[in-house]
């Protein structure tokens, strides 16, 4: 692979805190290597800002391996940027060429208030999990792991749903800021397994209830969530969630719901 260097113009959202209004600021970065990750390019910019005695840009990041779900930039109108199945931290600068302008915004959704610049508050996701995204089994209660065989196909499907990293790109990509892909991935992960079966009805009801309470929008089957999901979580999960939800309603699962 050919390596090269580039100069770029960045238009980045700056916002002091959740109460103040934000605005775009323009920055120039020079001599960026095509081998850098997108966040390493931001490191260069921030070092430059510190050297100029200016305040660096706040952004969320941690593992930089595409698995923790912390990074969250909206790049040129796309959650996590242009690469398919890729988080911002795994996007690399060989995507860009000399002279490009890149616009970077935070996740935009009422349920994800901005903390500062590109950093948003995603605790609504934790609260949705608290509403039922688990199997109620205390430590020490488990039977032998091989006591219940699970069809490989079901286990694989469950794993594919469990691969969600909770980054919130689905919400950011959705014009309605719906969290259906996130919620449906968790409901699918657990309801596809025999361990998750006993609580499947209350789980679906309670998690949806909490999702609505957090102010996420409704799903209108646009599919932007699936297209932008860095982990390839499929829309099938939403169909499954709808079935779970309807099943729970008709079965009187709502009686057990909060």
């Amino acid at each position: 692979m050919e390596h090269y260097h580039m100069n770029l113009t960045l238009k980045v959202w700056k916002q002091k805190n959740k109460n103040e209004k934000g605005r775009f600021e323009t920055y120039q970065v020079k001599n960026i290597s095509s081998e850098m990750s997108f966040l390493e390019m931001f490191d260069v910019l921030n070092e430059q800002l510190v050297a100029e005695n200016k305040e660096p840009i706040a952004f969320d990041h941690d593992c930089r391996e595409g698995i923790c779900g912390m990074c969250s930039m909206y790049i040129n109108g796309r959650a996590h940027g242009p690469w398919h199945h890729t988080t911002t931290c795994q996007l690399h600068m060989r995507e860009y060429k000399d002279g490009d302008t890149i616009v970077v915004e935070p996740w935009r959704a009422n349920s994800f208030p901005v903390i500062k610049d590109l950093v948003v508050d995603r605790q609504a996701f934790d609260r949705i999990i608290q509403a039922g995204g688990y199997v109620s089994v205390n430590t020490g209660n488990a039977v032998d792991a091989n006591a219940i065989p699970i069809e490989k196909h079901d286990a694989d499907e469950s794993f594919a749903s469990a691969a969600c990293i909770g980054c919130g790109a689905c919400v950011a990509a959705c014009p309605n800021a719906s969290a259906m892909l996130f919620v449906s991935a968790k409901v699918s992960h657990l309801s596809l397994l025999p361990q998750g079966d006993p609580e499947r009805k209350t789980r679906a009801m309670n998690m949806i209830h909490q999702m609505d309470k957090e102010g996420f929008g409704s799903c209108t089957n646009i599919g932007a969530c699936e297209a932008e999901c860095p982990k390839g979580i499929s829309l099938e999960n939403i169909a499954r969630l709808n079935r779970e939800y309807l099943g729970a309603m008709f079965d009187g699962g709502s009686q057990n719901a909060i």
């Binding site: 002091k16 290597s33 081998e35 850098m36 966040l39 390493e40 490191d43 510190v50 050297a51 005695n53 660096p56 706040a58 969320d60 941690d62 593992c63 930089r64 391996e65 595409g66 698995i67 923790c68 779900g69 912390m70 690469w83 199945h85 795994q90 690399h92 500062k116 508050d121 995603r122 605790q123 934790d126 999990i129 608290q130 509403a131 688990y134 199997v135 109620s136 089994v137 205390n138 430590t139 020490g140 209660n141 488990a142 039977v143 032998d144 792991a145 091989n146 065989p149 069809e151 490989k152 286990a155 694989d156 469950s158 794993f159 469990a162 691969a163 909770g166 992960h189 397994l193 361990q195």
Partner: protein, 658 residues
């Protein structure tokens, strides 16, 4: 203070069983009055907090990330060991124990390791019950694979995302306790001080990273589950935020630091591509199951890998270690790669890399598929195509990650790999109950030193984190808290809280008032370079002495010239980082002192002066069969205490993987 490891009497097999049936208990009504603080929400912290919440304790958790689910346990790829012997290949609790003690080069505590091995099977049961989607065979039963340093298949996995799935399991158990009101969760909070009252840890001072406010929290006990300190090297496979701060504050309050120099350098990471690099990415050790590691037989060979014929390749691990081949332990594999590169056989632009090649695995799997599918007279293209499909199913996500980072397709071209800092076996010294030398202060998971000796075997970190959190601390904490049931919650206007908070505030103000010219990042990079060059994969007395002086000088420079933009009372990642780097600048010195003190090579600690004729680590059991436990006495002043290691069951020998 004499170290008391509190190892129960009795035979190895009896110790933990006996402990569990005789330890003191706390009744449910009293548990509700006892408050526990848990710092860090990775596998150790989340599993401990969830289990203690289930028991009825009042728990508070703190993590610096925006959610407990982000903790760096999530990045563990390959798997988790357990002595289930589902494969009928001769595994047992004893064999897992033995492999771990041997893999650790005889520098771990037998009793702890045996307990770890004996609860390993319960961990898998617990995780499956929580809904962790481990890989399964067509019959519906769990699948296993091999890992380095073992000859059985005991590793359970979920593709290359095992850590993620286990952490989500623990996180969900934790969130359930939050919903039930047993646990209160604080995200974007960083612990900056331990509060001591009457010689016991009774709380913490934390900083709310969003508002910058300092908060006081009381606890009858404090559990540090804050992970390892590999980021002292700047470049490592740790997450950007991973740090030593919580453990270091505890150390300065009297918790001894155990074996600080024991660092694991992982052999299969993506090599450094330039000065801009912010972190290194691991390629799971599971890749060594099927991949073959080689360098050209000719020095400075610049041909493309696929142009180098088979007979001109040196599969040096298979050559040097025929019994274990590419599956030797990590320390051995890392040193062997460094040896080849230093001798001029390295590959890639930097020449600091070796090849990890999947070509023969693709052919092997392709032929199996052809035969499975009954294809007659299959041509080479079909075999290759089918082989790639199998490799994709096993390692697809890792191959994709490699391609994203390097822009090269590993199905076609061998991957380039090089060792990188990955894990720290050292950590806070703890006794058998996971209690540090500070009463009421515990350390779990990677934050403690206890189970891996001088080198950790693959797929054992997840095992240890969950063993400590799910199955050890619920017993050992109760045993100690049983004596504390009459202690009422101490109000946080107690003078000790006030003083601790003032100390934290003074330090932050001091940092902010420096207003120098050099960024925090730049100091961190400079520290990392000293550590990697002089306290990395190979160390010698001369280099370590130099490093100690260089670190002292760098620390002085930091405290007079660091520049931290922004304000104290706001979201300020530069200030967060400065707090962490300031602590790394003290820890680095202690690591070098420890490495200098240990005049032997063992596991990941390789002193060039102490090697066998074949270049293997040479232990000095007559002099160094002990845990180094360092007591903080003031700036650059640490006192060494020794915990002698007694091997009743295993007989230490020169490790051989040949």
């Amino acid at each position: 203070m004499a170290l008391n490891s509190k190892i129960p009497a009795g035979s190895l097999e009896e110790k933990w069983e006996k402990y569990k049936s005789t330890c003191k208990l706390v009744n449910p009504a009293n548990k509700r009055q006892l408050e526990i603080i848990v710092i860090g929400t990775g596998l150790a912290g989340a599993s401990a907090a969830a289990s203690l919440g289930e028991l009825g304790y009042k728990v508070k958790t703190f993590c610096f990330q925006d959610s407990p689910r982000r903790a760096h346990s999530i990045a563990a790829q390959g798997g988790i060991n357990a002595a289930k012997n589902y494969q009928n290949d001769g595994d047992s609790t004893f064999r897992l124990f033995y492999d771990t003690v041997k893999g650790g080069d005889y520098r771990s505590r037998e009793a702890n390791v045996y307990r770890l091995a004996s609860v390993s099977a319960n961990i898998i049961d617990q995780c499956v019950a929580q809904g962790v989607p481990f890989a399964r065979e067509y019959g519906g039963l769990l699948s296993n694979r091999s890992f380095g340093g073992t000859q059985v298949q005991r590793t359970f996995y979920a593709a290359g995302q095992t850590g993620q799935q286990l952490l989500i399991g623990a996180y969900q158990a934790l969130e359930r306790q939050v919903a039930l009101g047993n646990v209160t969760q604080y995200s974007r909070h960083e612990m900056l001080e331990v509060v001591m009252i009457d010689g016991k840890a009774r709380g913490v001072i934390v900083r709310n990273l969003v508002t910058g406010e300092l908060e006081r929290h009381f606890g009858h006990a404090v559990l540090l589950c804050s992970g390892g300190y590999g980021n002292v090297f700047y470049l490592s496979t740790n997450a950007m935020g991973s740090n030593v701060t919580a453990a270091w504050k505890a150390h300065k309050k009297g918790a001894y630091f155990g074996n600080p120099c024991f660092t694991q350098i992982h052999p299969t990471c993506i090599p450094v591509s330039g000065d801009h690099q912010s972190k290194l990415t691991l390629m799971s050790e599971s890749l060594r199951n099927d991949g073959r590691i080689w360098v050209p037989k000719k020095q400075g060979d610049n041909r493309k890998p696929n142009d180098i014929p088979e007979e001109e390749r040196d599969y040096y691990l298979e050559r040097r270690y025929p019994a274990f081949g590419n599956l030797v332990p990590r320390d051995v594999a890392s040193r062997a790669a460094k040896e080849r590169c230093d001798a001029g056989y390295g590959v890639g632009a930097s020449k600091q890399a070796v090849y990890l090649d999947y070509a023969s695995a693709i052919q092997r799997y392709g032929k199996i598929e052809v035969s499975k599918q009954g294809i007659e007279n299959a041509d080479a293209a079909t075999i290759t195509k089918l082989g790639k499909e199998v490799v994709k199913e096993k390692y697809g996500n890792l191959f994709e990650m490699y391609e994203k980072i390097t822009g090269e397709n590993p199905y076609e071209v061998p991957m380039r790999i090089y060792p990188a800092v990955h894990y720290t076996m050292g950590g806070l010294w703890v006794d058998y109950e996971l209690q540090t030398t500070v009463p009421g202060l515990y350390a779990l998971g990677e934050a403690n030193f206890s189970d891996h000796g001088a080198n950790r075997l693959g797929a054992s970190a997840l095992m240890q984190g969950l063993a400590d959190g799910y199955f050890v601390i619920p017993y050992t904490l109760g045993n100690n808290l049983a004596d504390d049931i009459r202690t009422k919650a101490i109000p946080t206007d107690h003078p000790a809280f006030v003083e601790a908070e003032n100390n934290v505030r003074d330090r932050i103000n001091k940092l902010m008032s420096i207003k120098g010219t050099e960024s925090v990042e730049s100091f961190h990079k400079r520290l990392g370079k000293i550590m990697w060059d002089k306290c990395g994969m190979a160390r010698n007395a001369q280099g370590l002495k130099e490093a100690i002086e260089e670190i002292k000088a760098l620390r002085k420079e930091f405290w007079s010239n660091v520049r931290i933009p922004g304000d104290v009372n706001e979201f300020n990642p530069e200030l967060d980082k400065a707090n962490r780097v300031a602590d790394f600048l003290e820890l680095g010195e202690l690591m070098c002192m420890d490495a200098l003190n240990r005049n032997e090579s063992c596991g990941g600690h390789f002193r060039e002066e102490y090697q066998t004729e074949e270049g293997e680590a040479q232990r000095q059991d007559d002099q160094y069969m002990y845990v180094s436990a360092w007591e903080y006495k003031g700036d650059s002043n640490f006192e060494l205490h020794k915990e002698e290691l007694i091997y009743d069951v295993v007989h230490p020998t020169q490790r051989s993987y040949k």
